[in-house]
Amino acid sequence: MNKKSIIAVVFGAVAFSSCSDVKRTPGKIYMPDMAYSRAVETYNDNRELQAEGINYNAEPVAGTVARGEEVIYRMLKDTTGTYVTSAALTNPMTTKLTEEEYTETERLYLINCGICHGTKLDGNGPLYNDGKGPYPLAPKNLVSDEIKKMADGTIFHSITYGKNLMGSYASHLTPKQRWMMVQYIRMKQNGETPGAAATDSTAAAAPAGTATAMK
């Protein structure tokens, strides 16, 4: 008879001990030198390096250009001036997006822009959702007349530096991707798709040969 009692106690103890709480520590590790790299890795704290006198700069050296960067954009953000003058920039991508580029740009749009400006570019993304979402302001309707009239360069400038409460997307999209995005918005405004050769409409797509932002 007592056998049962012991089994019951053991099971009780196991059951009780297995009701563990949230795991707030990573647990035991053998050879921590291997598990946690001694070499400098991404997201290592660099303040110690600075203290040790090792030169470490989180930002690129001024004036350097990233490899593969095709378009250099020199216009800096300021409150009034460059926003206006950015209208003079012309899109270095003078042709319509190819099917492949279109798919890629659409993917980037849905990741980065669609959350506010909506999948249909109507300014009603999930974050706004007719005012029911958490975002308190209505994002711009990108297929509205206002944006249709806006110069390519100004759209590019707005993506690069943000406008009003929109943030900068320079860290998310390369300059080339940003110009592709401008083309994508234009194609959406005109209802064009890469498959069907679109008739040249009133879009502000600059004719080839004009001076571009490329330097």
Partner: protein, 415 residues
């Protein structure tokens, strides 16, 4: 008769025109919201200062109706007249120019102001969260009650067993059956043998589990400096994983977003009004306070709408860690392999606090490499595997696993 009919027709016509007019007016007033969203909402909210000031109580602040309407249509012209209130306002908002709306009619502006006045101030909507609290509390209570009940029942069983054996001995004595000195249970060979076996099984199980688990941190769920809920961001608000972790498609690391990425939305979203959040220990999270913590790191002042302090990095606690001798590349899996984030990171869009879903052991890696079929079609990354492409076409093989393109070779990951 004919005469009457024509009069009747006329009267009916006039009446219908009148009704249409009245009806039109009615629709118009309700359209204030649509007009507001179309024209004003990208800079103004009713109860919140955003790109422009909050518009609640605008009629009290500018009692002169004509001046207000002029300002809404062409603010530059009003500024040119040197009106003191608006000049001060313009200066207070860092001279952010307001758009011109010359085409708005008096009725349209009136309808928008009617709408603005009709929007209730936030803070009245409470009560929905109560049920959730009780449900959560009840759930906790249940498990505790069951535990206590099990314990009490176990004690009762023990006591009853003791009572039973004592009674048996007493009755044996009464009936004259000779009772031998009872062997205490800790010296009973059967018990000792049983205990040894149980100890061996249980102890062995835990020893082996512990040894296997050494260096694995499955379910690791550290407390982060800010309660950042993936459930709110990726779940409720449907933000794409790659919006913040854009590095996952570009390189080895799925980067932790830098603060400017947070501020893309949180410049405007400075309070949390969604459903209630709870930490793992059951305490409630004040979402607005957590957003304030973000501001303390970025140095953003939500009242002045600009960065006033030096930013400092948020020291997030790293959860997923691979040893130094393993090479893992996110881009290879996300971009070339087209593996969904959830395959390795679990149901991330429903996690309040993130925990490590997979054990990240080598067996786990290899198993997936053996089972996963590579998406060969429409994937330029694998275009060089001509033989496999031909075999697939000719039907010699129906799919290509990661293993068959060398995904289990040692030096793929250890080099």
């Amino acid at each position: 008769m004919i005469h009457y009919r024509s009069i009747l027709q006329r009267v009916a016509l006039i009446l219908s025109v009148l009704t249409v007019l009245c009806f039109d007016q009615g629709v118009f007033a309700q359209d204030g919201k649509a007009l507001f969203q179309q024209n004003c909402a990208s800079c103004h909210a009713v109860h919140k200062n955003l790109t422009g000031p909050a518009l609640a109580g605008i009629e009290e602040r500018v009692p002169d109706k004509k001046l207000l309407y002029d300002w809404i249509r062409n603010n530059q012209a009003v500024l040119a007249t040197g009106n003191k209130y608006f000049t001060d306002l313009y200066a207070a908002w860092n001279k952010t120019a307001m758009n011109l709306f010359p085409n708005l009619t008096d009725e349209e502006i009136g309808a928008m102001i009617t709408y603005i006045n009709s929007v209730p101030a936030p803070g009245a909507a409470t009560g929905t969260g109560e049920a959730g609290v009780q449900a959560a509390a009840a759930e906790n209570d249940n498990s505790l009650i069951f535990g206590v009940l099990t314990l009490i029942l176990a004690i009762i069983v023990l006591v009853l067993l003791q009572v039973n054996s004592n009674l048996k001995r007493l009755s044996d004595e009464k009936e004259g059956i000779p009772s031998y000195e009872p062997v205490p249970f800790y010296r009973n060979k059967a018990y000792i043998a049983l205990f040894a076996v149980v100890l061996f099984i249980v102890g062995g199980y835990y020893t082996i589990q512990g040894a296997v688990g050494l260096g694995r941190s499955k379910d690791y769920q550290p407390e982060q400096p800010i309660y950042y809920s993936h459930k709110v961001h990726a779940g409720t608000n449907q933000i794409n994983c790659l919006y913040c972790h854009s590095g996952a498609q570009e390189g080895k690391h799925a980067n932790i977003p830098s603060l400017n990425t947070c501020m893309n939305c949180h410049m405007a979203i400075n309070e949390y009004a969604g459903e209630k959040l709870y930490r793992e220990d059951g305490t409630e999270v004040d979402g607005t306070a957590e957003i304030k913590k973000l501001y303390s790191y970025t140095g953003w002042d939500p009242d002045q709408k600009k960065y006033v302090n030096e930013p400092k990095p948020i020291e997030w606690v790293k959860i997923h860690n691979l040893p130094d001798h393993v090479y893992f590349n996110h881009a290879q899996h996300v971009k070339a392999g087209k593996v969904a984030c959830q395959t390795c990171h679990g149901d991330i869009q429903n996690m309040g606090e993130v925990y490590q879903y997979s054990d990240l052991s080598m067996g786990w890696c290899i198993n997936c490499h053996r089972e996963t079929k590579v998406q060969f079609e429409d994937n330029k990354f694998y275009s060089i595997y001509e033989k496999f492409h031909n075999d697939l076409k000719s039907g010699k093989m129906d799919s290509v696993t990661v293993e068959s393109i060398g995904g289990t070779e040692c030096q793929k990951c250890h080099y």
